[in-house]
Symmetry: C2
Subunit: 278 residues, 2 copies
Protein backbone atom coordinates (compact mmCIF):
# COMPACT_ATOMS: atom_id res chain seq x y z
CA UNK A 1 0.00 0.00 0.00
CA UNK A 2 1.05 3.61 -0.66
CA UNK A 3 4.10 2.74 -2.73
CA UNK A 4 6.07 5.89 -3.43
CA UNK A 5 9.50 7.38 -2.90
CA UNK A 6 11.28 4.52 -4.62
CA UNK A 7 14.36 4.60 -6.76
CA UNK A 8 14.07 8.28 -7.55
CA UNK A 9 15.57 10.38 -4.77
CA UNK A 10 17.28 7.42 -3.17
CA UNK A 11 20.61 8.92 -4.08
CA UNK A 12 21.15 12.03 -2.04
CA UNK A 13 19.20 11.07 1.01
CA UNK A 14 21.14 11.42 4.22
CA UNK A 15 22.94 8.29 5.26
CA UNK A 16 21.59 6.92 8.51
CA UNK A 17 22.00 3.73 10.45
CA UNK A 18 18.40 2.86 9.62
CA UNK A 19 18.92 3.32 5.92
CA UNK A 20 21.95 1.06 6.03
CA UNK A 21 20.03 -1.65 7.85
CA UNK A 22 17.16 -1.34 5.43
CA UNK A 23 19.49 -1.66 2.47
CA UNK A 24 21.17 -4.65 4.07
CA UNK A 25 17.82 -6.43 4.31
CA UNK A 26 17.06 -5.64 0.67
CA UNK A 27 20.41 -7.02 -0.35
CA UNK A 28 19.96 -10.18 1.70
CA UNK A 29 16.47 -10.74 0.34
CA UNK A 30 17.50 -10.17 -3.24
CA UNK A 31 20.83 -11.91 -3.46
CA UNK A 32 21.34 -14.05 -0.39
CA UNK A 33 23.63 -13.95 2.59
CA UNK A 34 26.90 -14.02 0.71
CA UNK A 35 25.92 -10.89 -1.19
CA UNK A 36 25.90 -8.67 1.86
CA UNK A 37 29.33 -7.09 1.75
CA UNK A 38 30.52 -3.64 2.62
CA UNK A 39 31.37 -3.05 -1.01
CA UNK A 40 27.89 -4.04 -2.18
CA UNK A 41 26.45 -1.69 0.42
CA UNK A 42 28.61 1.22 -0.68
CA UNK A 43 27.50 0.53 -4.22
CA UNK A 44 23.78 0.64 -3.46
CA UNK A 45 24.13 3.61 -1.17
CA UNK A 46 26.64 5.46 -3.31
CA UNK A 47 29.13 6.11 -0.53
CA UNK A 48 32.52 4.95 0.68
CA UNK A 49 33.25 2.21 3.19
CA UNK A 50 34.23 4.73 5.82
CA UNK A 51 30.71 6.16 5.75
CA UNK A 52 29.30 2.75 6.60
CA UNK A 53 31.68 2.31 9.49
CA UNK A 54 30.82 5.74 10.81
CA UNK A 55 27.30 4.45 11.43
CA UNK A 56 27.55 0.79 12.22
CA UNK A 57 30.69 -0.44 13.95
CA UNK A 58 31.15 -3.69 12.09
CA UNK A 59 29.59 -6.32 9.91
CA UNK A 60 28.20 -8.63 12.56
CA UNK A 61 26.55 -5.72 14.32
CA UNK A 62 24.82 -4.94 11.04
CA UNK A 63 23.71 -8.53 10.64
CA UNK A 64 22.30 -8.52 14.14
CA UNK A 65 20.43 -5.29 13.51
CA UNK A 66 19.02 -6.57 10.23
CA UNK A 67 17.89 -9.79 11.88
CA UNK A 68 16.34 -7.95 14.78
CA UNK A 69 14.46 -5.61 12.46
CA UNK A 70 12.93 -8.48 10.50
CA UNK A 71 12.07 -10.42 13.63
CA UNK A 72 10.47 -7.38 15.20
CA UNK A 73 8.33 -6.87 12.10
CA UNK A 74 7.37 -10.55 12.13
CA UNK A 75 6.25 -10.46 15.74
CA UNK A 76 4.39 -7.19 15.57
CA UNK A 77 3.27 -5.89 12.17
CA UNK A 78 2.90 -2.33 13.37
CA UNK A 79 5.83 0.11 13.40
CA UNK A 80 7.88 -0.87 16.40
CA UNK A 81 9.22 2.50 17.51
CA UNK A 82 12.36 3.19 15.54
CA UNK A 83 12.29 3.45 11.76
CA UNK A 84 9.43 2.89 9.42
CA UNK A 85 7.00 0.01 9.12
CA UNK A 86 8.73 -2.64 7.00
CA UNK A 87 7.53 -3.26 3.48
CA UNK A 88 3.97 -4.32 4.26
CA UNK A 89 5.44 -7.73 4.66
CA UNK A 90 2.28 -9.38 5.93
CA UNK A 91 2.66 -13.10 6.30
CA UNK A 92 0.40 -15.22 4.09
CA UNK A 93 -2.17 -16.48 6.58
CA UNK A 94 -0.74 -16.37 10.05
CA UNK A 95 -3.89 -16.23 12.11
CA UNK A 96 -7.40 -14.96 12.00
CA UNK A 97 -7.33 -11.44 13.37
CA UNK A 98 -4.30 -10.02 11.63
CA UNK A 99 -4.53 -6.32 11.30
CA UNK A 100 -4.55 -3.85 14.13
CA UNK A 101 -3.43 -6.15 16.90
CA UNK A 102 0.05 -7.63 16.69
CA UNK A 103 1.11 -11.08 17.78
CA UNK A 104 2.45 -9.69 21.04
CA UNK A 105 -0.80 -8.51 22.58
CA UNK A 106 -3.16 -10.85 20.79
CA UNK A 107 -6.68 -11.74 21.81
CA UNK A 108 -7.10 -15.51 21.62
CA UNK A 109 -6.26 -18.19 24.17
CA UNK A 110 -2.66 -18.32 25.34
CA UNK A 111 -2.21 -21.35 23.11
CA UNK A 112 -3.39 -19.36 20.11
CA UNK A 113 -1.03 -16.56 21.01
CA UNK A 114 1.89 -18.95 21.16
CA UNK A 115 0.94 -20.39 17.78
CA UNK A 116 0.67 -16.89 16.35
CA UNK A 117 4.17 -16.00 17.48
CA UNK A 118 5.50 -19.27 16.15
CA UNK A 119 3.81 -18.83 12.79
CA UNK A 120 5.01 -15.26 12.56
CA UNK A 121 8.55 -16.51 12.81
CA UNK A 122 7.90 -19.42 10.50
CA UNK A 123 6.51 -17.16 7.81
CA UNK A 124 9.34 -14.68 8.22
CA UNK A 125 11.88 -17.43 7.58
CA UNK A 126 9.94 -18.46 4.51
CA UNK A 127 9.90 -14.91 3.20
CA UNK A 128 13.55 -14.25 4.06
CA UNK A 129 15.56 -17.43 3.51
CA UNK A 130 18.70 -15.91 5.04
CA UNK A 131 16.86 -15.44 8.31
CA UNK A 132 17.14 -19.08 9.33
CA UNK A 133 20.91 -18.98 9.34
CA UNK A 134 21.03 -15.63 11.06
CA UNK A 135 18.63 -16.70 13.78
CA UNK A 136 20.85 -19.68 14.46
CA UNK A 137 23.96 -17.52 14.53
CA UNK A 138 22.40 -14.94 16.84
CA UNK A 139 21.36 -17.66 19.26
CA UNK A 140 24.80 -19.22 19.40
CA UNK A 141 27.03 -16.17 19.21
CA UNK A 142 24.94 -13.94 21.37
CA UNK A 143 22.61 -16.17 23.39
CA UNK A 144 20.98 -13.25 25.17
CA UNK A 145 21.16 -10.55 22.56
CA UNK A 146 18.22 -8.46 21.34
CA UNK A 147 16.92 -11.11 18.96
CA UNK A 148 16.72 -13.80 21.61
CA UNK A 149 15.25 -11.41 24.13
CA UNK A 150 12.51 -10.33 21.77
CA UNK A 151 11.46 -13.86 20.94
CA UNK A 152 11.67 -14.94 24.54
CA UNK A 153 9.42 -12.10 25.63
CA UNK A 154 6.86 -12.88 22.94
CA UNK A 155 6.69 -16.49 24.00
CA UNK A 156 6.95 -15.79 27.70
CA UNK A 157 3.85 -13.65 27.99
CA UNK A 158 1.41 -16.31 26.82
CA UNK A 159 3.27 -18.90 28.90
CA UNK A 160 2.48 -16.77 31.90
CA UNK A 161 -1.11 -16.33 30.77
CA UNK A 162 -1.33 -20.09 30.52
CA UNK A 163 -1.10 -20.28 34.28
CA UNK A 164 2.20 -22.07 34.52
CA UNK A 165 3.51 -21.67 38.09
CA UNK A 166 6.08 -18.92 38.39
CA UNK A 167 8.95 -21.25 39.29
CA UNK A 168 8.59 -22.89 35.90
CA UNK A 169 8.32 -19.78 33.74
CA UNK A 170 11.91 -19.73 32.65
CA UNK A 171 12.18 -23.43 31.95
CA UNK A 172 8.88 -23.61 30.13
CA UNK A 173 9.51 -20.59 27.93
CA UNK A 174 12.99 -21.90 27.18
CA UNK A 175 11.65 -25.24 26.01
CA UNK A 176 9.23 -23.52 23.65
CA UNK A 177 11.83 -21.11 22.33
CA UNK A 178 14.31 -23.91 21.79
CA UNK A 179 11.83 -25.96 19.84
CA UNK A 180 10.91 -22.90 17.84
CA UNK A 181 14.47 -22.09 17.01
CA UNK A 182 15.32 -25.62 16.00
CA UNK A 183 12.22 -25.98 13.87
CA UNK A 184 12.45 -22.66 12.05
CA UNK A 185 16.14 -23.25 11.52
CA UNK A 186 15.73 -26.57 9.81
CA UNK A 187 12.49 -25.81 8.02
CA UNK A 188 14.00 -23.99 5.14
CA UNK A 189 13.87 -23.60 1.41
CA UNK A 190 14.17 -27.17 0.20
CA UNK A 191 15.86 -25.88 -2.86
CA UNK A 192 19.03 -24.68 -4.47
CA UNK A 193 20.90 -22.26 -2.37
CA UNK A 194 20.12 -18.62 -1.85
CA UNK A 195 17.56 -15.95 -2.65
CA UNK A 196 13.97 -16.75 -3.64
CA UNK A 197 11.73 -18.79 -1.32
CA UNK A 198 11.84 -21.87 -3.58
CA UNK A 199 8.93 -22.91 -5.74
CA UNK A 200 6.56 -25.76 -4.99
CA UNK A 201 8.13 -27.81 -7.76
CA UNK A 202 11.62 -27.32 -6.41
CA UNK A 203 10.44 -28.36 -3.01
CA UNK A 204 8.82 -31.51 -4.34
CA UNK A 205 11.89 -32.39 -6.36
CA UNK A 206 14.11 -31.89 -3.35
CA UNK A 207 11.97 -34.08 -1.12
CA UNK A 208 11.80 -36.73 -3.81
CA UNK A 209 15.53 -36.89 -4.15
CA UNK A 210 16.12 -36.96 -0.41
CA UNK A 211 13.48 -39.57 0.18
CA UNK A 212 14.92 -41.83 -2.49
CA UNK A 213 18.41 -41.41 -1.11
CA UNK A 214 17.18 -42.41 2.30
CA UNK A 215 15.75 -45.63 0.98
CA UNK A 216 19.18 -46.53 -0.35
CA UNK A 217 20.84 -46.20 3.05
CA UNK A 218 22.35 -49.18 4.80
CA UNK A 219 19.55 -50.87 6.76
CA UNK A 220 22.00 -51.72 9.50
CA UNK A 221 23.12 -48.16 10.04
CA UNK A 222 19.95 -46.25 9.37
CA UNK A 223 16.87 -48.38 9.98
CA UNK A 224 14.83 -45.50 11.33
CA UNK A 225 15.65 -43.06 8.57
CA UNK A 226 14.73 -45.68 6.01
CA UNK A 227 11.46 -46.33 7.77
CA UNK A 228 10.37 -42.70 7.64
CA UNK A 229 11.60 -41.90 4.14
CA UNK A 230 8.09 -42.08 2.74
CA UNK A 231 6.53 -39.92 5.47
CA UNK A 232 9.21 -37.34 4.98
CA UNK A 233 8.46 -37.07 1.26
CA UNK A 234 4.82 -36.33 1.96
CA UNK A 235 5.09 -34.15 5.01
CA UNK A 236 3.91 -30.56 5.13
CA UNK A 237 6.39 -28.25 6.82
CA UNK A 238 3.83 -25.95 8.30
CA UNK A 239 1.64 -28.71 9.64
CA UNK A 240 4.55 -30.50 11.17
CA UNK A 241 5.79 -27.29 12.68
CA UNK A 242 2.42 -26.76 14.36
CA UNK A 243 2.22 -30.38 15.44
CA UNK A 244 5.52 -29.90 17.25
CA UNK A 245 4.25 -26.79 18.98
CA UNK A 246 1.20 -28.71 20.11
CA UNK A 247 3.39 -31.52 21.37
CA UNK A 248 5.27 -29.12 23.60
CA UNK A 249 2.05 -27.40 24.66
CA UNK A 250 0.62 -30.77 25.60
CA UNK A 251 3.68 -31.43 27.68
CA UNK A 252 3.25 -28.12 29.46
CA UNK A 253 -0.45 -28.48 30.16
CA UNK A 254 0.01 -32.06 31.32
CA UNK A 255 2.83 -31.28 33.71
CA UNK A 256 0.95 -28.37 35.15
CA UNK A 257 -2.55 -29.80 35.07
CA UNK A 258 -4.38 -28.41 38.04
CA UNK A 259 -2.68 -25.05 38.23
CA UNK A 260 -3.66 -24.01 34.72
CA UNK A 261 -6.11 -21.26 33.96
CA UNK A 262 -9.58 -22.45 33.06
CA UNK A 263 -11.33 -21.74 29.79
CA UNK A 264 -8.41 -23.06 27.80
CA UNK A 265 -7.87 -26.74 28.28
CA UNK A 266 -5.35 -28.76 26.33
CA UNK A 267 -4.14 -27.71 22.92
CA UNK A 268 -6.59 -29.93 21.03
CA UNK A 269 -4.06 -31.73 18.87
CA UNK A 270 -4.71 -30.95 15.24
CA UNK A 271 -5.89 -33.49 12.73
CA UNK A 272 -6.55 -35.98 15.49
CA UNK A 273 -9.37 -36.07 17.97
CA UNK A 274 -9.85 -37.16 21.58
CA UNK A 275 -7.96 -40.30 22.48
CA UNK A 276 -7.70 -42.28 25.71
CA UNK A 277 -7.89 -40.72 29.18
CA UNK A 278 -11.50 -41.42 30.24
Amino acid sequence: MAPRTRQAERRRQVLTRERIIETAVELLDAEGEDALTVRALTGRLATGSGAIYWHIGNMSELLEAATDAVVAAALDPRPAGAGRARDTDRAPETGRARGAVGALEAAGTPQDDIRAVALGLFDAVTAHPWLAGQLAIQFTRNPWGPVTLRIFESIGRPVRALGVPQTDWFTTASALVHYLLGATTQTRRHAGDDTAPASEAERAAFLDTASSAWQELDPGDYPFIRAIAEQMREHDDREQFLAGIDLVLTGITTLHAGSLSRGAEGPTPRGRRGRGSP
Copy 2:
Protein backbone atom coordinates in the same frame (compact mmCIF):
# COMPACT_ATOMS: atom_id res chain seq x y z
CA MET B 1 45.13 -43.54 27.89
CA ALA B 2 47.98 -44.99 25.82
CA PRO B 3 49.44 -41.65 24.83
CA ARG B 4 52.11 -42.20 22.22
CA THR B 5 52.93 -41.22 18.68
CA ARG B 6 52.58 -37.54 19.43
CA GLN B 7 54.59 -34.68 18.04
CA ALA B 8 57.51 -36.85 16.99
CA GLU B 9 56.84 -38.44 13.64
CA ARG B 10 53.85 -36.22 12.95
CA ARG B 11 55.83 -34.61 10.17
CA ARG B 12 56.36 -37.10 7.44
CA GLN B 13 53.19 -39.11 7.89
CA VAL B 14 51.18 -39.49 4.72
CA LEU B 15 48.57 -36.83 4.25
CA THR B 16 45.07 -38.28 4.31
CA ARG B 17 41.60 -36.88 4.46
CA GLU B 18 41.27 -38.28 7.98
CA ARG B 19 44.42 -36.60 9.17
CA ILE B 20 43.21 -33.29 7.82
CA ILE B 21 39.86 -33.64 9.59
CA GLU B 22 41.60 -34.62 12.79
CA THR B 23 43.89 -31.61 12.60
CA ALA B 24 40.92 -29.37 11.87
CA VAL B 25 39.22 -30.52 15.07
CA GLU B 26 42.41 -29.89 17.05
CA LEU B 27 42.65 -26.42 15.63
CA LEU B 28 39.02 -25.66 16.37
CA ASP B 29 39.30 -26.96 19.92
CA ALA B 30 42.49 -25.07 20.61
CA GLU B 31 41.90 -21.73 18.97
CA GLY B 32 38.24 -21.42 18.06
CA GLU B 33 36.30 -21.32 14.84
CA ASP B 34 38.03 -18.35 13.30
CA ALA B 35 41.38 -20.10 13.57
CA LEU B 36 40.50 -22.85 11.14
CA THR B 37 41.98 -21.57 7.90
CA VAL B 38 43.67 -23.34 5.04
CA ARG B 39 46.88 -21.56 5.90
CA ALA B 40 46.76 -22.68 9.54
CA LEU B 41 46.16 -26.20 8.33
CA THR B 42 49.10 -26.15 5.94
CA GLY B 43 51.22 -24.86 8.81
CA ARG B 44 50.31 -27.66 11.20
CA LEU B 45 50.53 -30.30 8.53
CA ALA B 46 53.61 -28.90 6.85
CA THR B 47 52.19 -28.93 3.32
CA GLY B 48 50.88 -26.55 0.70
CA SER B 49 47.31 -25.48 0.14
CA GLY B 50 47.06 -27.58 -2.98
CA ALA B 51 47.64 -30.70 -0.92
CA ILE B 52 44.66 -29.86 1.24
CA TYR B 53 42.44 -29.33 -1.77
CA TRP B 54 43.56 -32.60 -3.26
CA HIS B 55 41.90 -34.35 -0.32
CA ILE B 56 38.96 -32.23 0.70
CA GLY B 57 37.19 -30.21 -1.96
CA ASN B 58 36.54 -27.07 0.03
CA MET B 59 36.32 -25.48 3.41
CA SER B 60 32.69 -26.10 4.22
CA GLU B 61 33.05 -29.74 3.33
CA LEU B 62 35.84 -29.91 5.87
CA LEU B 63 33.71 -28.20 8.48
CA GLU B 64 30.93 -30.66 7.85
CA ALA B 65 33.26 -33.60 8.15
CA ALA B 66 34.78 -32.27 11.37
CA THR B 67 31.33 -31.71 12.85
CA ASP B 68 30.16 -35.14 11.80
CA ALA B 69 33.23 -36.77 13.32
CA VAL B 70 32.71 -35.13 16.69
CA VAL B 71 28.98 -35.84 16.68
CA ALA B 72 29.60 -39.47 15.79
CA ALA B 73 32.04 -39.79 18.69
CA ALA B 74 29.54 -38.16 21.02
CA LEU B 75 26.75 -40.54 20.08
CA ASP B 76 28.84 -43.65 20.12
CA PRO B 77 32.13 -43.67 21.99
CA ARG B 78 33.56 -46.60 20.09
CA PRO B 79 35.45 -46.16 16.83
CA ALA B 80 32.78 -45.57 14.22
CA GLY B 81 34.26 -47.22 11.18
CA ALA B 82 36.54 -44.76 9.48
CA GLY B 83 39.56 -43.33 11.27
CA ARG B 84 40.67 -43.82 14.80
CA ALA B 85 38.76 -43.51 18.04
CA ARG B 86 38.72 -39.83 18.95
CA ASP B 87 40.85 -38.67 21.86
CA THR B 88 39.16 -40.73 24.60
CA ASP B 89 36.75 -37.88 24.72
CA ARG B 90 34.38 -39.53 27.20
CA ALA B 91 31.72 -37.14 28.38
CA PRO B 92 31.74 -36.37 32.12
CA GLU B 93 28.78 -38.39 33.36
CA THR B 94 26.42 -39.04 30.53
CA GLY B 95 24.71 -42.15 31.74
CA ARG B 96 25.31 -45.18 33.90
CA ALA B 97 26.56 -47.87 31.57
CA ARG B 98 29.12 -45.95 29.59
CA GLY B 99 31.76 -48.18 28.21
CA ALA B 100 31.08 -51.00 25.84
CA VAL B 101 27.62 -50.01 24.75
CA GLY B 102 27.18 -46.72 22.93
CA ALA B 103 24.26 -44.37 23.18
CA LEU B 104 22.83 -45.78 19.97
CA GLU B 105 22.11 -49.27 21.16
CA ALA B 106 21.67 -48.57 24.84
CA ALA B 107 19.97 -50.71 27.40
CA GLY B 108 17.61 -48.57 29.49
CA THR B 109 14.05 -47.49 28.83
CA PRO B 110 13.44 -45.60 25.61
CA GLN B 111 13.22 -42.44 27.68
CA ASP B 112 16.65 -43.12 29.14
CA ASP B 113 18.04 -43.73 25.70
CA ILE B 114 16.69 -40.42 24.48
CA ARG B 115 18.21 -38.64 27.46
CA ALA B 116 21.52 -40.38 26.81
CA VAL B 117 21.63 -39.17 23.23
CA ALA B 118 20.65 -35.68 24.32
CA LEU B 119 23.29 -35.55 27.01
CA GLY B 120 25.90 -36.91 24.67
CA LEU B 121 25.30 -33.96 22.41
CA PHE B 122 25.08 -31.55 25.30
CA ASP B 123 28.43 -32.67 26.66
CA ALA B 124 30.04 -32.56 23.24
CA VAL B 125 29.02 -28.93 22.84
CA THR B 126 30.46 -28.18 26.24
CA ALA B 127 33.73 -29.85 25.34
CA HIS B 128 33.90 -28.28 21.88
CA PRO B 129 32.48 -24.77 22.02
CA TRP B 130 32.65 -24.35 18.25
CA LEU B 131 30.28 -27.29 17.84
CA ALA B 132 27.19 -25.27 18.75
CA GLY B 133 27.65 -22.91 15.85
CA GLN B 134 28.53 -25.69 13.46
CA LEU B 135 25.52 -27.77 14.41
CA ALA B 136 23.32 -24.77 13.72
CA ILE B 137 25.00 -24.15 10.39
CA GLN B 138 24.75 -27.77 9.31
CA PHE B 139 21.06 -27.83 10.12
CA THR B 140 20.31 -24.69 8.14
CA ARG B 141 22.66 -25.06 5.20
CA ASN B 142 22.24 -28.77 4.75
CA PRO B 143 19.03 -29.77 6.52
CA TRP B 144 19.40 -33.42 5.61
CA GLY B 145 23.14 -33.84 5.55
CA PRO B 146 25.08 -36.49 7.44
CA VAL B 147 25.03 -34.64 10.75
CA THR B 148 21.26 -34.25 10.80
CA LEU B 149 20.77 -37.80 9.63
CA ARG B 150 22.94 -39.22 12.36
CA ILE B 151 21.18 -37.32 15.11
CA PHE B 152 17.78 -38.11 13.67
CA GLU B 153 18.55 -41.80 13.60
CA SER B 154 19.80 -41.78 17.19
CA ILE B 155 16.64 -40.10 18.40
CA GLY B 156 14.32 -42.01 16.10
CA ARG B 157 15.18 -45.48 17.35
CA PRO B 158 14.07 -44.88 20.93
CA VAL B 159 11.02 -42.97 19.67
CA ARG B 160 10.05 -46.14 17.86
CA ALA B 161 10.80 -48.23 20.93
CA LEU B 162 8.54 -45.93 22.88
CA GLY B 163 5.59 -47.32 21.00
CA VAL B 164 4.61 -44.17 19.15
CA PRO B 165 2.31 -45.14 16.25
CA GLN B 166 4.13 -45.32 12.93
CA THR B 167 2.26 -42.43 11.36
CA ASP B 168 3.73 -40.13 14.00
CA TRP B 169 7.34 -41.29 13.88
CA PHE B 170 8.58 -38.53 11.68
CA THR B 171 6.75 -35.74 13.45
CA THR B 172 7.66 -36.96 16.90
CA ALA B 173 11.32 -37.46 16.17
CA SER B 174 11.41 -34.07 14.47
CA ALA B 175 10.02 -32.34 17.52
CA LEU B 176 12.66 -33.94 19.74
CA VAL B 177 15.48 -33.17 17.36
CA HIS B 178 14.35 -29.59 16.97
CA TYR B 179 14.22 -29.05 20.69
CA LEU B 180 17.61 -30.68 21.00
CA LEU B 181 19.16 -28.51 18.37
CA GLY B 182 17.73 -25.31 19.78
CA ALA B 183 18.77 -26.15 23.30
CA THR B 184 22.32 -27.28 22.55
CA THR B 185 22.73 -24.31 20.27
CA GLN B 186 21.84 -21.74 22.87
CA THR B 187 23.34 -23.51 25.85
CA ARG B 188 26.84 -22.40 25.30
CA ARG B 189 29.90 -21.06 27.02
CA HIS B 190 28.51 -18.12 28.97
CA ALA B 191 31.86 -16.50 28.59
CA GLY B 192 34.17 -14.46 26.47
CA ASP B 193 34.37 -15.73 22.97
CA ASP B 194 36.24 -18.71 21.72
CA THR B 195 38.31 -21.67 22.85
CA ALA B 196 38.14 -23.05 26.40
CA PRO B 197 34.83 -24.25 27.86
CA ALA B 198 34.57 -21.26 30.25
CA SER B 199 35.21 -21.55 33.96
CA GLU B 200 32.54 -21.64 36.62
CA ALA B 201 33.49 -18.12 37.68
CA GLU B 202 33.14 -16.76 34.17
CA ARG B 203 29.78 -18.37 33.88
CA ALA B 204 28.57 -16.88 37.14
CA ALA B 205 29.86 -13.45 36.19
CA PHE B 206 28.14 -13.66 32.83
CA LEU B 207 24.82 -14.66 34.33
CA ASP B 208 25.11 -11.93 36.92
CA THR B 209 25.66 -9.27 34.34
CA ALA B 210 22.87 -10.50 32.11
CA SER B 211 20.45 -10.85 34.98
CA SER B 212 21.16 -7.31 36.19
CA ALA B 213 20.78 -5.93 32.69
CA TRP B 214 17.41 -7.61 32.41
CA GLN B 215 16.19 -5.96 35.56
CA GLU B 216 16.96 -2.59 34.00
CA LEU B 217 14.79 -3.23 30.94
CA ASP B 218 11.71 -1.16 30.28
CA PRO B 219 8.82 -2.80 32.19
CA GLY B 220 6.47 -1.86 29.38
CA ASP B 221 8.50 -3.60 26.70
CA TYR B 222 9.90 -6.55 28.59
CA PRO B 223 7.72 -7.49 31.55
CA PHE B 224 8.33 -11.20 31.17
CA ILE B 225 12.09 -10.97 30.81
CA ARG B 226 12.24 -8.80 33.91
CA ALA B 227 10.14 -11.29 35.81
CA ILE B 228 12.46 -14.20 35.10
CA ALA B 229 15.76 -12.35 35.51
CA GLU B 230 16.32 -13.90 38.91
CA GLN B 231 15.47 -17.45 37.81
CA MET B 232 17.80 -17.11 34.90
CA ARG B 233 20.70 -16.13 37.15
CA GLU B 234 20.27 -19.24 39.24
CA HIS B 235 19.40 -21.77 36.58
CA ASP B 236 21.51 -24.81 35.83
CA ASP B 237 22.00 -25.40 32.13
CA ARG B 238 22.11 -29.13 32.34
CA GLU B 239 19.04 -29.44 34.55
CA GLN B 240 17.06 -27.10 32.40
CA PHE B 241 18.13 -28.97 29.32
CA LEU B 242 16.83 -32.21 30.81
CA ALA B 243 13.66 -30.56 32.03
CA GLY B 244 12.96 -29.53 28.46
CA ILE B 245 13.52 -33.05 27.21
CA ASP B 246 11.10 -34.33 29.81
CA LEU B 247 8.57 -31.72 28.79
CA VAL B 248 8.64 -32.98 25.23
CA LEU B 249 8.60 -36.61 26.39
CA THR B 250 5.55 -35.84 28.50
CA GLY B 251 3.88 -34.36 25.46
CA ILE B 252 4.64 -37.49 23.48
CA THR B 253 3.48 -39.96 26.09
CA THR B 254 0.34 -37.95 26.76
CA LEU B 255 -0.66 -37.67 23.12
CA HIS B 256 -0.08 -41.33 22.56
CA ALA B 257 -1.32 -42.66 25.87
CA GLY B 258 -2.87 -46.02 25.19
CA SER B 259 -0.65 -47.07 22.33
CA LEU B 260 2.56 -46.83 24.30
CA SER B 261 4.64 -49.79 25.31
CA ARG B 262 4.16 -50.89 28.88
CA GLY B 263 6.90 -51.01 31.46
CA ALA B 264 7.88 -47.44 30.80
CA GLU B 265 5.19 -44.99 31.78
CA GLY B 266 5.66 -41.26 31.70
CA PRO B 267 9.06 -39.65 31.99
CA THR B 268 8.76 -39.01 35.75
CA PRO B 269 9.54 -35.31 35.68
CA ARG B 270 12.70 -34.62 37.62
CA GLY B 271 12.74 -32.70 40.85
CA ARG B 272 8.99 -32.84 41.04
CA ARG B 273 6.76 -35.75 41.97
CA GLY B 274 3.33 -37.05 41.00
CA ARG B 275 0.78 -34.34 40.52
CA GLY B 276 -2.91 -34.48 39.61
CA SER B 277 -4.42 -37.19 37.38
CA PRO B 278 -5.78 -39.74 39.92
